[in-house]
């Protein structure tokens, strides 16, 4: 008795499957469309285009550069090793540039210094020249005879007034890295060792899938090689974090995916004792395929985090075949198509509620969760379709004789429940449960931090900190964005900001900062210097006294007067401007903009205050903003959860009526509440990710309530179905809890807890009136 639909459905589905496979093949034509860029996953705080550009500019070196310290007690040996590694790395082809020596282009430096004599003079030197020209001249005379400071890059006869020397000396300098004159290496001394600075810039960035691993590998070899000569290497780079992240993701995917697969297959074999039942895994594979294809189609690529979290879909997808496979305990003999027809309404409801739950994730402002939602929804749809259209055909004629022990387990559990209910009625239990919840919730702390997304290995962080300590470079992630109508106004605003930052520096709250106004002064300041120079002949007698010819001084004055006013662009052209170059954002839609970068910040809260009342100055603190977004999202996530419940109630009213629907939905909500309380009791903080996990649990566990309420084949069979479904889901999500990324493990933990409670509470879903089985109805 093969119905026509039993023939056409599998065929139609196979056609669809082939089409999706073809699409997948096309998507993967140039290698895996995977992405590892974390920034794609965190919520955009909707910064404007300029802010975004500024951030990218600040970020760029992180993702492309590696900083290595090569350390040995003997400086010579450290330098030699740095040189050797430098050559090896250069030859590796991974790097665009490897640098361990200082390549100073002295002629270019001289030119820039001479050209910038008016514009680059520091505020202090300007002030002295303008207010105390006599002291200015006196210092110059001293410098001419000083054997210790009298050396300047620019020969005296090109700069009798010594302006270039002053500019040289006023360049901001941070850190404790020194130039080793002989080798040209940059060296810092610490911990009884000399550390030579080696910098490498890669050809691609940290988000290329292969590069980070190659770089990490190269570093590993270099470390081993260096260790043989007793040389220690310390390295810091975004690339290394990317590599560690990738390795970790691969490892966890193997563990979670592999563990869940093995566990579920074992469970299937143990329960059904037929090899053919392993075909139940087909919907899982199809689901993964659909999810991946949908994800790439929608986002252009798939993030590795989506893959890790998505691999937990295995446990949910396998529930669909389980729905009708588990009927083999009550349906004897069991036939695939009739079993499917019997469970189809429940299956469909379950698909709809799960999808509602997953799609609720999509409305959070987290691109990560949007991807996971899309992946999972498409995956569930694929799994559902294959479970409904294909699998029954594959299982046709299978003679399922499931083991009887699972049924006995579930009967035993139901008996226990009966016994419990005889001791305490449901209201009493509910009261106890609520007491448990209240107690737990009172102990629940909330914690949200972007760092939860990062499972950075301790060793990497430690090394980075050591490097920061040795070199004294402590870049901060915050920076100021300054906008103005034109360059003059921009420099004015930066000067105002600098005054405030200088105070912080003086108070040791800030180590230093870089701002364009340190490099080039405002045009009107340049004019003032020029005017002050005009008055200098009255004061330069001491210079004449020591033998400087009057003619030379006059010529120099004329040259200085003729120097053009330098603007930001011309100032940035020279080699001295290198550190500032990234700060200049250039013309924007409504003027110009630049950044001010910071070093060694003690108190981020102080920064906000600095920008107050300064027009056009804005603190960009993406990390702080992200953490705020996290906290806010927590509230909207809770709202979403309620909204998704309302939606699910609406869907369920049709088959179960309002009362039934409310009951079915209230169970997962209560389970979520219990999980929250458990987190409190366990001393785990509530994070955004636990909340997302619970959001998901609601959707999944509505399933269990439906299964229990439908009671196709009796209470114990239904409970068994629920148990199997919960076990498989738990196998995949629970394994996430072992992830070393706090966010992922939080997610896994809360889903696991939620599943456990959902299973415990499921029998209270009541019994649909048409059912005639023996199950005790809930009170």
């Amino acid at each position: 008795m093969t119905l026509p639909s039993e023939r056409t459905l599998p065929r139609l589905f196979l056609i669809l499957l082939l089409a999706v496979l073809a699409l997948a093949g096309w998507q993967w034509r140039d290698g895996a469309p995977l992405s590892a860029n974390l920034m794609e996953l965190v919520p955009g705080t909707a910064p404007d285009a300029l802010e975004l550009r500024a951030e990218q500019r600040m970020q760029e070196p992180l993702n492309r550069e590696m900083l290595v310290l090569v350390g040995h007690k003997d400086r010579q040996q450290a330098v030699a090793m740095a040189q050797k590694l430098g050559e090896q790395w250069q030859a590796s082809g991974l790097f665009e540039k490897v640098q361990w020596t200082l390549q100073a282009d002295l002629p270019a430096l001289r030119t820039q210094l001479l050209q910038g004599r008016l514009a680059m003079l520091s505020a202090t030197d300007r002030q002295q020249l303008i207010e105390h020209p006599d002291a200015f001249i006196q210092q110059r005379v001293q410098a001419l005879f000083d054997p210790f400071t009298g050396f300047s890059l620019v020969p005296s006869q090109d700069d009798w007034l010594g302006l270039t020397g002053r500019i040289q000396n006023s360049q901001p300098q941070h850190g404790s890295v020194q130039l080793d004159i002989g080798s040209g290496a940059l060296v810092a001394d610490a911990d009884g060792k000399s550390w030579v600075l080696l910098r490498a810039r890669t050809t691609g960035n940290a988000f290329d899938m292969n590069l980070p691993l190659q770089v990490a590998d190269l570093l590993k070899h270099s470390r081993e090689e260096a260790a043989q000569s007793d040389v220690q290497l310390l390295a810091a780079s975004g690339l290394l974090y990317a590599a560690a992240g990738q390795q970790q993701a691969t490892r966890e995917m193997t563990w979670v995916g592999g563990g869940a697969t093995v566990g579920i297959l074992l469970l299937l074999l143990l329960a059904f004792r037929r090899w053919r039942v392993l075909l139940a895994f087909v919907p899982v594979l199809v689901g993964m395929l659909f999810g991946a294809v949908a994800c790439v189609a929608l986002f252009g690529h798939m993030h590795v985090m989506t893959l890790v979290l998505g691999s937990s879909l295995i446990g949910v997808a396998v529930d669909y075949p389980l729905h009708y496979l588990s009927k083999s305990w009550s349906l004897k003999p069991w036939h695939s198509w009739p079993a499917l027809r019997l469970t189809l309404p429940g299956l469909t409801l379950s698909l709809i509620t799960s999808c509602i739950g997953y799609l609720a994730l999509a409305w959070t402002p987290f691109p990560a969760l949007t991807q996971i939602a899309v992946f999972s929804t498409a995956g569930l749809l694929g799994a559902y379709l294959s479970a409904v259209c294909l699998l029954p055909a594959l299982l046709k004629g299978a003679d399922l004789r499931p083991a009887q022990w699972p049924l006995r387990v579930s009967e035993y559990l139901l008996d226990r429940r009966e016994a419990l209910l005889r001791i305490a009625r449901t209201p009493v239990l509910l009261a106890l449960l609520i007491a448990f919840c209240v107690g737990g919730l009172l102990q629940l702390d909330s914690k949200n931090d972007i760092r939860q997304w990062v499972g950075a290995p301790q060793q990497l962080t430690d090394e980075a900190q050591t490097i920061a300590r040795i070199t004294g470079y402590q870049p901060t992630s915050q920076f100021f964005l300054v906008r103005a109508a034109n360059q003059q106004a921009l420099l004015e605003r930066q000067t105002a900001l600098s005054e405030r930052l200088d105070q912080l520096v003086n108070l040791d709250k800030l180590q230093g900062y870089l701002s364009l106004n340190q490099l080039v002064s405002q045009p009107h300041e340049q004019h003032k210097v020029r005017e002050a120079l005009n008055k200098l002949p009255q004061f330069w007698q001491p210079l004449l006294d020591v033998g400087v010819p009057l003619e030379a001084l006059k010529t120099e004055l004329a040259t200085l007067q003729a120097l053009p006013v330098e603007d930001i662009d011309s100032a940035l052209a020279g080699p001295l401007a290198e550190p500032w170059r990234t700060l200049w954002l250039g013309p924007t839609e409504d003027g110009v903009a630049a950044m001010v970068s910071l070093q060694g910040l003690n108190n981020p809260a102080l920064l906000r205050v600095q920008a107050r009342d300064l027009p056009g100055v804005e603190l960009v603190d993406r990390l702080g903003e992200l953490n705020n977004v996290f906290a806010q999202t927590q509230i909207s996530a809770a709202e979403l959860k309620l909204a998704s419940c309302v939606l699910i109630v609406l869907v369920l009213i049709l088959p179960f009526g309002l009362g039934g629907a409310l009951r079915i939905v209230s169970l997962p909500l209560l389970a979520a509440l219990c999980s929250l309380a458990s987190l409190g009791w366990l001393g785990h903080p509530l994070t955004l990710f636990s909340l997302f996990g619970l959001l998901l649990v609601t959707a999944i566990s509505v399933d269990y309530a439906i299964l229990m309420r439908e009671q196709v084949g009796g209470a114990s069979v239904s409970l068994l179905g629920t148990l199997l479904a919960a076990l498989t889901t738990w196998l995949s999500f629970g394994l996430l809890a072992v992830s070393s990324t706090p966010a992922v493990s939080n997610f896994g933990l809360s889903v696991s807890l939620g599943l456990a409670f959902s299973f415990l509470l499921a029998p209270w879903a009541g019994r649909q009136v048409h059912a005639t089985s023996v199950a005790e109805s809930a009170a």
């Binding site: 974390l38 920034m39 070196p61 550069e65 900083l67 200082l102 100073a104 430096l109 005879f145 000083d146 054997p147 210790f148 009298g150 050396f151 020969p155 005296s156 006869q157 040289q168 360049q171 300098q173 850190g175 404790s176 020194q178 080793d180 004159i181 002989g182 940059l186 910098r199 810091a236 780079s237 975004g238 990317a242 992240g245 970790q248 760092r451 997304w453 990062v454 499972g455 950075a456 990497l460 962080t461 980075a464 900190q465 490097i467 920061a468 300590r469 070199t471 470079y473 402590q474 870049p475 901060t476 992630s477 915050q478 870089l514 020591v546 033998g547 001295l576 981020p604 993406r622 990390l623």
Partner: protein, 239 residues
Amino acid sequence: MIFCLRRSPVGAGLSDRRTAAMVVNDNAGHLTPRGALRLFASKLAPAVLCVLLSIPGLANAFDLQQLSDQLAKPDVIHGNFIQEKHLRALPQPLTSKGAFVLAKNHGLLWLLKTPLQQDYRITAKGIARRDANGWQTLPGKSAGAEQNRLFLAVLQGDSSGLQRDFELSLSGEAQNWKLTLTPRSLLLKQVFNQINITGGELVHSIELLETQGDSTLLRMQDSTSGQPLSDAEQHDFAE
């Protein structure tokens, strides 16, 4: 998972604990000419100068070793100096005069007398200048700086310091010798052509030839090695 935030692992756990991924944000990169420039400019010259005043233990050649031993003998040297700065644009050199005290275990006092008065001191702690309030260590010239490394290498008879940075060639005899230093590194070559030192029992003159065409000639006169440090001098070193 993959995490390359633009946050600072360098800063992580430090001042503002950052997501552990921002590594090279990278003012280290900015070392390039600027940071080094200043150090280079103001520290190199004195370094070389100090080195030369006492010629280090030059270990590998017999002659150099002999010279090194000869110069390392006296504990304290007192003397006068004349410094002539020959600038291409000036018909006359800029000339200054003064006295110096070089003490083996302490350092160098450099007392400029004409045309202006200024006292300098170089010790293991760095370069200091005397003003109305006493000795002021010059900023950025703290212990551990390059010139001190060289300087100490010299005082302690460590030859590696000087020989690494310069080619040394010695001619003449014990009572009338000439030592020529040619820079090895590209960086130094952009600044100095050569440094010439002459002497007998003690150093007589040091000549610094810059690539730009200027030169500085230091002549040490009336150097004596018999006299111990006076109380005032000891006080100056101790302070």
